[in-house]
């Protein structure tokens, strides 16, 4: 037996207790840390873009495009149909408007009322929006139609989440 490697009874107990204590502390802290940073780890679905239409189909006249999105509400996953009114404005930029009326959520149509051929019209309470989606004062809606974030890649138009706007 060499003296070098000798561990006293006291030292041995110290080492074991520190080791076991460390394990227990780590075991308690790990889930806490995990919960604390959990929101960072979950994949962000909101920022996703979905392909909607080939760019050459988009004209100066608003057209209705539909696509499907997987939506998770709490524990419930469902396919949701999304719709947008898409057109090119005077500066040749692509504009994609949400069709959901900012009044009570009906679906607005482009030029769907003969009296207002150049406006978005809500069939429920006669809400109207100009071509750029701004609500016409004096009609029920109090905010413009939300716009979709747009992205063009390889001649396909991709739409992301909507942004609500303040306005008239």
């Amino acid at each position: 037996m060499s003296d070098k490697q000798r561990v006293s009874r006291r030292q041995f107990l110290n080492y074991t207790l520190t080791g076991v204590g460390g394990f227990m502390a780590a075991g308690m802290l790990a889930p806490m840390v995990r919960f604390a940073i959990d929101p960072v780890l979950t994949p962000q679905a909101a920022g996703e873009f979905h392909s909607v239409a080939p760019v050459e189909e988009i004209t100066n006249e608003p057209q209705r495009f539909e696509w499907q999105v997987e939506q998770v509400d709490a524990w419930y996953e469902s396919k949701v149909q999304k719709t947008a009114w898409v057109y090119r404005n005077k500066d040749d930029e692509i504009v994609a408007l949400s069709p959901i009326c900012t009044h009570l959520g009906c679906t607005v149509g482009w030029a769907s009322n003969q009296e207002y051929p150049n406006q978005f019209y809500c069939p429920c309470h006669g809400g109207r929006y100009t071509k750029d989606g701004v609500n016409v004062p004096g009609t029920p809606p109090t905010a413009p139609l939300p716009v979709y974030k747009t992205k063009v890649q390889e001649n396909m138009l991709y739409l992301g989440e909507t942004q609500s706007r303040q306005g008239a």
Binding site: C101, H103, G105, C106, T107, P123, C124, H125
Partner: protein, 151 residues
Amino acid sequence: MQWTKRDTKQYLPEKEYVDTVLIPIISFDPASDNKMTKEAFQRELNQVFATLIEKEFKGRIFLSPEYYYLTNQHESEIPRVNQWVEHFQKQPFEHVFLFTFDAKWKKYESDLNGHLLWIPGIADGDLQSTETQSFVKEQVKQVNELIQAYW
């Protein structure tokens, strides 16, 4: 608006704008083996229709919980349907639509206190197929125009 917590909360303060209720009328008979599949399909189809109509007119139409009744018991159901209508009218809902694929209601239309919206629908099919979907979309468009004609 749908019969959910979120929508009813939104409905109550905005009552004056929501003046129409749509009640899906759905028949079923759990005792009959040969009708079961067809009736289940019709129920699904009715739900698809009703939610599409509701989505288009969310701010003006309230979608009622479905009204279920045993197949071919129309006469005895009339008082109960009318009771539903009466309670909805207390809200007050000005226009009450009864939405069904069951043609036999046509005969009792005048006894019902709401507008009967009967459409032929499809007897059988696949809800996922693109033909059914485009057919349904086209029909929903027509029904929407019909509803608008009452406003």
